[in-house]
């Protein structure tokens, strides 16, 4: 089942499927596909932050920091996307590094509230300081790049660009999680005193996870602003943060692919109930509650169950995938 050739074939099939996908979709759905791809990066980067067991509420605002950086740099210096995207990540990481000093004096509930407060303060600054952030109306006129004859204003080319960037970022995130650093992050979560006793500076690793996550979500923010062309403070409010939380938790946060399953399934679900208009959030809320009550390990636990169903020998030991 988990043999190497089978995995390679599966990944290739997935890649081909992803490449062909936009050609079977209408324009509206192509649009959605791009945002979905960006949101995959958002949840995957959030996962790195949560690996240490700290649930921050500033992730959405960090995406905004990346987005605003890209927009401002593009408008001020007319630099292309090749400069603005890495810069978006770097500025978000730098702000995260500054915030580490106050925020990581706290843990758990306090960290949750503290990160929420810090994020809301940054967001309110975008609203308050019309120069240079444009106030509630935000900034507009950010254009996608132009390479040769390929116009990235079109949905399909931009989708491929997004797919490439997000794919690269996911690869790096996956490698980080499975490296020595990733293992230390896990140990900080599950056995912090033990990790400290063998010389791991838990503060430093919590901060590192936060900075790495912020970098990648900043890149996601850059991708979003270059496609949308506009950016407003309200795109990154509590509402979006709540959605990130929902995606991660409904998907399950014990494995790398859990949050990704969550964002894909819930986006498809959300799209399928589009006709219900204003009662949509209530249905979303109900699904959220039901999944917490009946599927506390997230959607990824279904994958595990199916796998065990097909496995030859009966499953033994612990079913949870905590490492």
């Amino acid at each position: 089942m988990n043999s190497k050739p089978a995995r390679i074939v599966l990944s290739l099939l997935l890649l081909v499927g992803l490449l062909l996908l936009p050609h079977f979709l209408q324009f509206h759905h192509q649009d959605l596909l791009i945002f979905l791809t960006i949101n995959v990066l958002v949840v995957a980067s959030y996962r790195i932050v949560t690996l240490t067991g700290e649930w921050s509420l500033i992730h959405a605002v960090m995406m905004g920091v990346g987005g605003y950086t890209a927009a401002l740099v593009f408008k001020q210096f007319e630099l292309g996307m090749w400069f603005t995207l890495p810069l978006a990540g770097i500025v978000a990481a730098a702000i995260a590094a500054l915030l580490c000093f106050p925020l990581f004096r706290m843990t758990q509930f306090y960290f949750l509230i503290g990160s929420f407060a810090a994020g809301e303060a940054i967001r309110l600054c975008w609203i308050r300081f019309v120069q240079p952030f444009g106030g509630t109306g935000g900034l507009s006129g950010v254009e996608p790049p132009l390479i040769g004859d390929i116009d990235f204003l079109e949905a399909v080319p931009y989708y491929y660009l997004t797919l490439a960037v997000v794919g690269l970022c996911l690869f790096i995130l996956y490698r980080i999680e499975n490296s020595r650093i990733g293992l230390i992050l896990h140990s900080v979560h599950w056995k912090a005193p033990l990790a400290e006793s063998v010389g791991v500076d838990t503060w430093r690793y919590r901060a590192l996870a936060f900075i790495i996550g912020s970098f990648f979500v900043g890149v996601a923010g850059g991708l979003k602003v270059h496609y949308l062309g506009t950016i407003t403070p309200n795109q990154f409010g509590v509402g979006f943060m709540v959605f990130i939380l929902i995606w991660v938790i409904v998907g399950g946060y014990n494995r790398f692919y859990g949050p990704i399953i969550g964002v894909v399934v819930l986006t498809l679900f959300d799209e399928s109930i589009r006709s219900l208009e204003e009662i949509r959030p209530a249905i979303y809320g109900a699904v959220l509650i039901i999944s917490i009550l009946f599927l506390p390990q997230g959607l990824e636990s279904i994958v595990g169950r199916v796998k065990r169903l097909f496995a030859r020998k009966p499953a033994g030991g612990t079913p949870s995938g905590d490492r």
Binding site: I113, L124, R280, P281, A282, G285, L288, L293
Partner: protein, 289 residues
């Protein structure tokens, strides 16, 4: 000078409202360990009850206020029984469930009241008290302040002078130890969320004639409640009351001189500063691990 005195009085009245819903949040967190994100929406439901039953159907104000308390308390009890009790061992579960409730309540409010402009409720008490010729306090605000103080005093009496109140504080201190002493955790949780939700409903009912009522009014309420909770010290009810008054005065003054958005930014920065300098809050107790 006149502006200063007027601001102090407005701040105190505001502080009464802040204290009502912040105390409820503190009680729910202390006893059940759940951050109730839907707390702002409970206040919103209280305000909507006043708008629907009093302003639309012409029912008298005071009985409607009682009705608002009962309705919100009912929602709170349902949340405890069907959401928080099954997820008690999962610290994030309760939080996420309360976010689900938040969405549902917002949509219900939109369905009942429509998505149009914010609603206003004409104050049931007319007239303004004029002191020293320059201080003006509308009777409605005075009434709100009086009721808040009364409610908080009653709560203080309940928590410090009755056996049930002692039991509640015991559970907040240490759930296992309290259970070993024969305290029924489920009953205490019901009481905590019942009282907390009732206070939120009361706050919503009292604020209804003084603010704009819309499905999203809970957002500002929850931010305020978080700031007050943190500044006062998580789990400290008296701390929450003092912090509510301090923060309300602070917010009123900054709003008068620098505007509402700056006031909220300053409040959030204040909260982060308190978290850094004194994470246990002004009245909190330092707990060693």
């Amino acid at each position: 000078m006149e502006l200063v005195i007027q601001s102090i009085i407005n701040g105190l009245i505001q502080g009464g409202f802040f204290a009502l819903f912040a105390v409820g949040l503190v009680m729910i967190f202390g006893v059940m360990g759940v951050v109730n994100f839907a707390h702002g929406e409970l206040v919103m439901v209280g305000a909507y009850t006043i708008w629907l039953v009093h302003a639309q159907y012409g029912f008298p104000y005071l009985p409607t206020l009682l009705l608002a308390i009962v309705v919100v308390m009912g929602i709170g009890l349902l949340m405890e029984r069907f959401l928080f009790r099954p997820t008690r061992n999962d610290p994030l579960g309760g939080l996420i469930c309360s976010i689900g409730v938040l969405f549902i309540l917002q949509v219900l409010a939109t369905l009942i009241g429509g998505d149009g402009p914010s609603k206003q409720v004409p104050p049931p008490l007319d007239g303004t008290l004029v002191l020293l010729e320059f201080i003006r306090i509308p009777y409605q605000r005075l009434f709100g302040l009086g009721v808040s103080v009364l409610a908080l005093l009653t709560l203080w009496y309940f928590l410090t002078r009755t056996r049930l109140g002692w039991a509640l504080r015991a559970v907040a201190l240490d759930r296992e130890a309290a259970a070993l002493q024969g305290i029924n955790i489920n009953v205490i949780s019901f009481i905590a969320i019942g009282v907390g939700a009732a206070l939120a409903g009361l706050a919503g009912g009292l604020m209804a004639p003084l603010t704009n009522i819309n499905p999203h009014m809970g957002h500002n309420v929850i931010i305020t409640a978080f700031i007050v909770t943190i500044v006062g010290g998580v789990g400290s009810i008296s701390g929450a009351v003092y912090a509510a008054i301090i923060y309300a005065l602070f917010h009123t003054f900054v709003t008068v001189y620098l505007g509402g958005t700056v006031a909220t930014i300053c409040g959030l920065v204040l909260m982060v500063l308190v978290l850094i300098v004194r994470p246990s809050g002004i009245m909190g107790v330092r707990v060693s691990e």
